[in-house]
Symmetry: C2
Subunit: 244 residues, 2 copies
């Protein structure tokens, strides 16, 4: 038995998220299906992060076990030739047999892209949140500084299946501007359900001038989803890297 | 009667090109249809360039005449609120009544994007030609220099409906590199059917080392489509600007 680890990139627009669901196109399901045509068996493919529908990845990490002897480089080429245009296996290599992309992860880096301008950006439409009105980076930065560190992020978890432990650590939370785009880069040891999008939606409340940076600290303190801002749309989000 | 001129931007992936065709989604057809819901009449929308299926635009210019009194800025906002996510009216203004986007154009600038690398670029897939093998910019530049100027470009016209006069002037033809991307920027007074894509396909024959730069001059000289290289895929091409 061997474990194969891969870096997966995808445009998530046409998928119902990472996780396999019967009868729906998903990233995990597509990988399993295409690998099965090469391996002659359906491998159990585990991913580092269960990205939502419409969320993209440049650095998702996935792994599966197989007893087939095919060399990793050949397997990668075979898989890439079978994958649709919006999914790619960017790297593939042997990993320790007990490697688990999700539970072994030490950190994840997500980037959220906001496009500011009166005209919607037709060529970036799938990858950005289009923001028509003024959005100031500086107050967003001041608010972001208040969120860095180890905190109970319950206010930023969308309900449904709440975790028992809602404490997480954010290592960095940077707001940078590049032309009309504003990027929110967040790196942490783990994220609650929709946490990144809820953080971004909350920061935009500050950037648009509806709230002060200090309000974000109060929202965090409240440990109540209703105290924080709205959830930003999926399409602006991209899983950039997973660190081990 | 007034003439309204607009700059149109689109991701051409989901359209059968610019030109209206019954029963098919086209850029021109979509603009006419959405303008009709505002104006209460179907305007005749003329474009500067009839881009093919899958070709994009950042600076297509279009115009139509109407006797409705609605202000250009309000018309632009109304149109943009009705257009799908992949088409936008980036500018809209009054123009002289006899303005013709196509016949009045003094020059057009197209950009062709090639992505070089072993892994297909999933986030840029709709906008680039993915090139797996080595492709050298320097010999492409040498070949490009031989094409600049006024020439008979018959060797670069895809047949079907050949023009009587196949002479055109290329003002500039630049090959630049930015990371893994290679851009071919071409500006000229007009282009024959598929001329830009045929030029790019021909330049790649030189960039991959199959042909010398001088072969491109011979291909031009031959005035025969069979003497030049293949047609590059539509998706890498974007109409950047039309000059008047």
């Amino acid at each position: 038995m061997r474990c194969i680890r891969m870096r997966v990139q995808y445009d998530g627009t046409n998928y119902h998220g990472w996780q396999e669901q019967p009868g729906l196109a998903t990233i995990q399901g597509t990988l399993i299906e295409r690998l099965a045509t090469i391996l002659g068996e359906r491998p159990a493919v585990e991913g580092a992060g269960r990205t939502d529908a419409g969320v993209h990845a440049m650095g998702q990490v996935a792994a599966f076990r197989t007893d087939r002897a095919i060399e990793a480089a050949r397997l990668q080429a075979a898989l890439n030739s079978r994958l649709p245009a919006d999914i790619a296996a960017a790297e593939m290599a042997e990993a320790p047999l007990h490697f688990h992309p999700s539970s072994d992860a030490a950190g994840k880096h997500y980037r959220y892209r906001i496009y500011r301008g009166p005209i919607k950006p037709v060529l970036q439409d799938r990858f950005v949140w289009h923001w028509h009105r003024p959005l100031e980076a500086e107050p967003m930065r001041a608010a972001a500084r208040l969120l860095v560190g180890r905190h109970d992020f319950r206010s930023f978890e969308t309900g449904g299946s709440p975790r028992e432990n809602t404490e997480r650590e954010i290592f960095r939370l940077n707001v940078t501007e590049t032309g009309r785009e504003l990027h929110v880069d967040v790196e942490g040891d783990g994220f609650l359900y929709r946490m990144v999008r809820n953080l971004v939606g909350t920061l935009t409340e500050v950037g648009r001038g509806h709230r002060t940076p200090e309000w974000v600290a109060e929202a965090l303190e409240a440990r109540d989803r209703a105290a924080a801002g709205p959830c930003a749309p999926a399409k602006g989000l991209c899983l950039m890297e997973v660190r081990y």
